[in-house]
């Protein structure tokens, strides 16, 4: 098996390449999140106190998309300013050896607890825990960046990740993300992102789409509560194939089966129009009796099955 040999060679290369030993970074001490419960009003010192030492961080934070929410009228004291996320400052001032709640050192679960203190209207804790990214141990700060890395404006143009971009011309992403979406997603979903380099692909590298146009990265409470799923998300843009048609290609039209992905690879393919198979081989997977039917032609040649997504005029999809 060609692929088997390739896999062996790749594993061997992997082993050789990873000769150096993994070294766990020495973690600084972090104060527990339960400090919020212990804190009195006088323990919250305000942003000025933080800025006395962390003036660079404080200056950049005004560029964060988060900044505007941090002094909302009526917000309780423990949900304002730096201390909303990092805990009451007095504990930190008293114990200089410790750090405030540090999102570099606490666990994914602790990050989740901290963020959901304010974002519970987006996701409930059991709900987030049930999502695929949480199950994989991904925390909010693996993708989101609360402090901009540079002294940049709030459009989020520079995030210090330009050199590691997967595609150079991507569409602007949410300013709260650490990098553009394809670059972020590529950290784990490398095989999927690689498909966008194929000859036929959805135009993410060209900056016309984002991963989140199709994928709900962390479905919110409201997303979870949408019961309708009777057509695939593809028809949001490809409305001309949404139907319903008088003659539905029902096993693949989204009413059963995998819908569009029965025939198309949505990320990319080396066949035209994202097809899984080339030319008439695609149809012959199911229509095995049609092998000798007009040999030498594609199934969608002129005058043939040109309305394969559904037709209002012809049961054999010969016209729209």
């Amino acid at each position: 098996m060609q692929l088997g040999r390739l896999a062996l060679a790749a594993v061997a290369s992997l082993s050789l390449l990873t000769g150096a030993m993994y070294q766990n970074a020495k973690k600084p001490k972090s104060l527990p999140l339960s400090l919020f419960a212990q804190a009195k009003a006088s323990d919250f010192l305000g942003d000025k106190k933080c800025a006395e030492c962390h003036d660079d961080v404080a200056a950049n934070f005004v560029n964060s998309a988060h900044a505007i929410y941090m002094h909302a009228p009526g917000a309780p004291l423990d949900k304002q300013g730096c201390e909303a996320c990092h805990g009451p400052g007095s504990f930190h001032v008293r114990d200089q050896d410790s750090v405030v709640i540090s999102y570099k050192t606490i666990s994914a679960k602790e990050v989740e607890d901290a963020c959901l203190r304010c974002h519970g209207d987006l996701m409930k804790k059991p709900h987030w825990d049930s999502e695929a990214h949480a199950r994989a141990g991904i925390s909010c700060v693996d993708c989101h960046q609360i402090h901009p890395k540079e002294n940049v404006n709030i459009t989020g143009g520079d995030r210090g990740v330009v050199q590691k971009q997967v595609f150079a011309a991507v569409k602007p992403s949410n300013p709260l993300l650490k990098a553009d979406e394809p670059t972020l997603c590529n950290q784990c979903h490398k095989a999927e992102v690689m498909k966008f380099r194929d000859n036929s692909h959805h135009p993410i590298p060209e900056g016309r789409m984002l991963c989140s146009d199709c994928h709900s990265i962390h479905p919110t409470n409201a997303d979870r509560l949408k019961a309708t799923s009777f057509k695939s998300k593809c028809v949001t843009c490809h409305q001309d194939i949404a139907g319903p048609f008088a003659f539905e290609h029902d096993p693949v039209a989204g009413w059963t089966g995998s819908g569009c992905t029965e025939c198309h690879n949505p990320h990319g393919s080396n066949n035209p129009t994202l097809l899984k198979s080339f030319s008439r081989g695609l149809c012959l997977q199911c229509h095995t009796d049609k092998g000798a039917h007009h040999p030498g032609h594609t199934c969608w040649d002129a005058g043939c099955h040109v309305a394969i997504h559904g037709s209002n005029t012809n049961a054999d999809f010969l016209s729209r």
Partner: protein
């Protein structure tokens, strides 16, 4: 963890009257460092030459030519209805492809107004001369918090598509308008409600397809009980109207219910079910009248970075014919398992697999009465990530197989992707990645040709590097290759192709903060059987960026 969450739930945060005023805090918080730039202007000059097929070169987008505004963005904060800010961004305005967008947030983010416009011009890849295609989208909306935890929103989107395809496909000239109104948030302790209405209108200006209006009402509620349990339920109704077609009105009624249960610190159980009743009186051949779906998943973390998941899904359908008499009732059962953990401190393993089986029969409603759907599907994937101080490497092997027992058809796909990033020093990094797609298809049906001839293999390779030469200069380079091997018995275009794409950029940033860039990108695409599809191009682009 639960104890920690309980602490949050039980805490009584200090009240506003115990605090300093916001203005007092803001005045105190003013840092000594300079104010960040508000305006970003990125100018570009670009030229490209082309020999060969312009349709293929401009399949996805059109590179600008001459002097152009690559990017202009403005961001600022101001006081109007409380703390507010504005973000405006224009990417290559007045070019074939552009994006304009803006967002204004007022009253500490309680009100959000957004709008954007995007246009793309492109071509269908074809050896013949074709008119260009265009897609133009506008969208805008407003979100308003009514309380700290409940808000309403209204969004509207227009999507105009005018596309020209190669024969035999007729051009598309269509417009879609989507309205969405939504109210969502917490109205009682640990609860959540969502009420929404979506109206989708589709107009086909070629008159080949009927105008279609889909209205969907959705209502749902979620309740968290303690820190470890939540339940949700929702109902939805969609009405689909196609004036002048059949009985004019189709509908889908759906409900769903489910929940999540954190059984312990390391274990959770998730369950969800959904039912859809579908009425499509306009459809004159087979379709699903009813669908029942159920899903359950058990997740357990063993500690030390190891976790396992077991999932089960069921889909049962009632399929009817044109006269709405029953055709068949197939049911699919899918089992999946995933194991993740660290083999050593530097190597992480993810292995997952699934199997789907069909129970009952479903037959094709043509002159071929054999089984319709795949009767078995298998998926497997194994992934290894290895990390060291300088090298991150990975290998992913996936296998997917579909089998139709009634037709004795097998289709198999194997994919191998591996790569590595090598950080020679903090300023210099190289990466390489390779992917192989191997397909096979076969059937013992004597009337069917060799299916494998139509499942081409493909190779994709990319390599590049990033080098920060000094505090002023950095260089990026990327090379991508794809290659398809196809028996292509019909001798069609796009079957046996090879693409070579190189992009290299040198960036220079002056001490005053101005940035300059020079990009060189020679691209070459060839079709070994169809010369007319190939092209060769070289792009040169100069950019200059300033921040104010």
């Amino acid at each position: 963890m639960l104890a920690m969450a309980t602490v949050f739930a039980q805490q009584a945060p200090p009240t506003q009257d115990q605090t300093k005023t916001d203005d007092q805090k803001d005045a105190q918080a003013t840092p000594a460092t300079p104010a960040p730039p508000k305006l970003n202007v990125d100018l570009g000059w670009s030229t490209w030459g082309l020999s060969g097929n312009e349709n293929k070169f401009r399949q996805y987008a059109t590179a600008p030519k001459g002097l152009f505004l690559k990017d202009a963005s403005y961001g600022d904060t101001f006081s109007f209805l409380g703390k507010s800010d504005v973000l405006l961004d224009a990417k290559s305005p007045w070019q074939d492809d552009f994006l304009l967008g803006g967002i204004v947030r007022l009253n500490s983010g309680a009100t959000k107004i957004n709008a954007s416009e995007q246009r793309n011009r492109f071509f269908s890849p074809d050896p013949s001369v074709l008119e260009g295609s265009e897609r133009l989208t506008y969208q805008g909306g407003v979100q308003q918090k009514l309380t700290r935890d409940f808000g309403v929103s209204f969004q509207e989107k227009f999507d105009q598509q005018q596309q020209n395809f190669s024969a035999p496909y007729a051009p598309l000239n269509q417009k879609t308008r989507i309205w969405n109104a939504d109210g969502q948030g917490t109205l009682w302790k640990d609860g959540f409600v969502d009420l929404s209405y979506t109206d989708v209108r589709y107009w086909d200006r070629t008159q080949a397809l009927p105008d279609t209006n889909t209205q969907t009402w959705n209502a749902g509620a979620m309740q968290q009980i303690g820190d470890a349990f939540s339940l949700n339920a929702s109902v939805a109704r969609s009405l689909i109207r196609q004036p002048g077609v059949g009985t004019d009105k189709s509908s889908v009624d759906a409900w769903s219910a489910g929940g999540e249960w954190l059984i312990g610190d390391g274990t959770s159980l998730i369950g969800q079910m959904q039912n859809e009743k579908i009425s499509l009186p306009t459809v004159q051949n087979a379709f699903d009248k009813m669908r029942d779906m159920a899903h359950a998943r058990l997740v357990h973390n063993f500690g030390a970075g190891w976790s396992a998941q077991f999932g089960y899904s069921k889909l049962a359908i009632e399929r009817v014919n044109a006269d709405h008499t029953n055709v068949d009732n197939p049911t699919w059962h899918t089992y999946d398992v995933q194991i993740t953990g660290r083999l050593s401190p530097s190597v992480r393993l993810t292995a997952k697999g699934s199997r789907e089986t069909m129970q009952g029969t479903a037959q094709m409603e043509t002159d071929d009465p054999l089984g319709l759907y795949w009767s078995n599907r298998w998926n497997g994937e194994i992934k290894l990530d290895a990390t060291s101080d300088q090298i991150n490497s990975y290998i992913v092997f996936g296998i997917h197989q579909d089998r139709n027992d009634a037709r004795d058809v097998n289709v198999r796909n194997q994919n191998l992707t591996y790569g590595a990033t090598f950080e020679v020093q903090p300023q210099l990094e190289f990466y390489v990645e390779s992917s192989y797609d191997l397909w096979s298809g076969n059937t013992t049906d004597p009337s069917s040709p060799n299916l494998g001839q139509f499942f081409p293999d493909g190779t994709t390779f990319t390599a590049g590097g990033n080098w920060t030469v000094d505090e002023h200069t950095y260089v990026t380079a990327n090379y991508t290759l794809f290659n398809t091997n196809n028996d292509n018995p019909l001798g069609l275009p796009d079957g046996n192709v090879r693409g070579n794409f190189f992009s290299g950029t040198v960036h220079y940033k002056t001490a005053a903060g101005y940035e300059f860039g020079l990009t060189f990108a020679p691209w070459q695409y060839s079709d070994r059987l169809y010369q007319g599809m190939g092209y060769s191009t070289g792009l040169i682009q100069l950019t200059a960026r300033a921040k104010f």
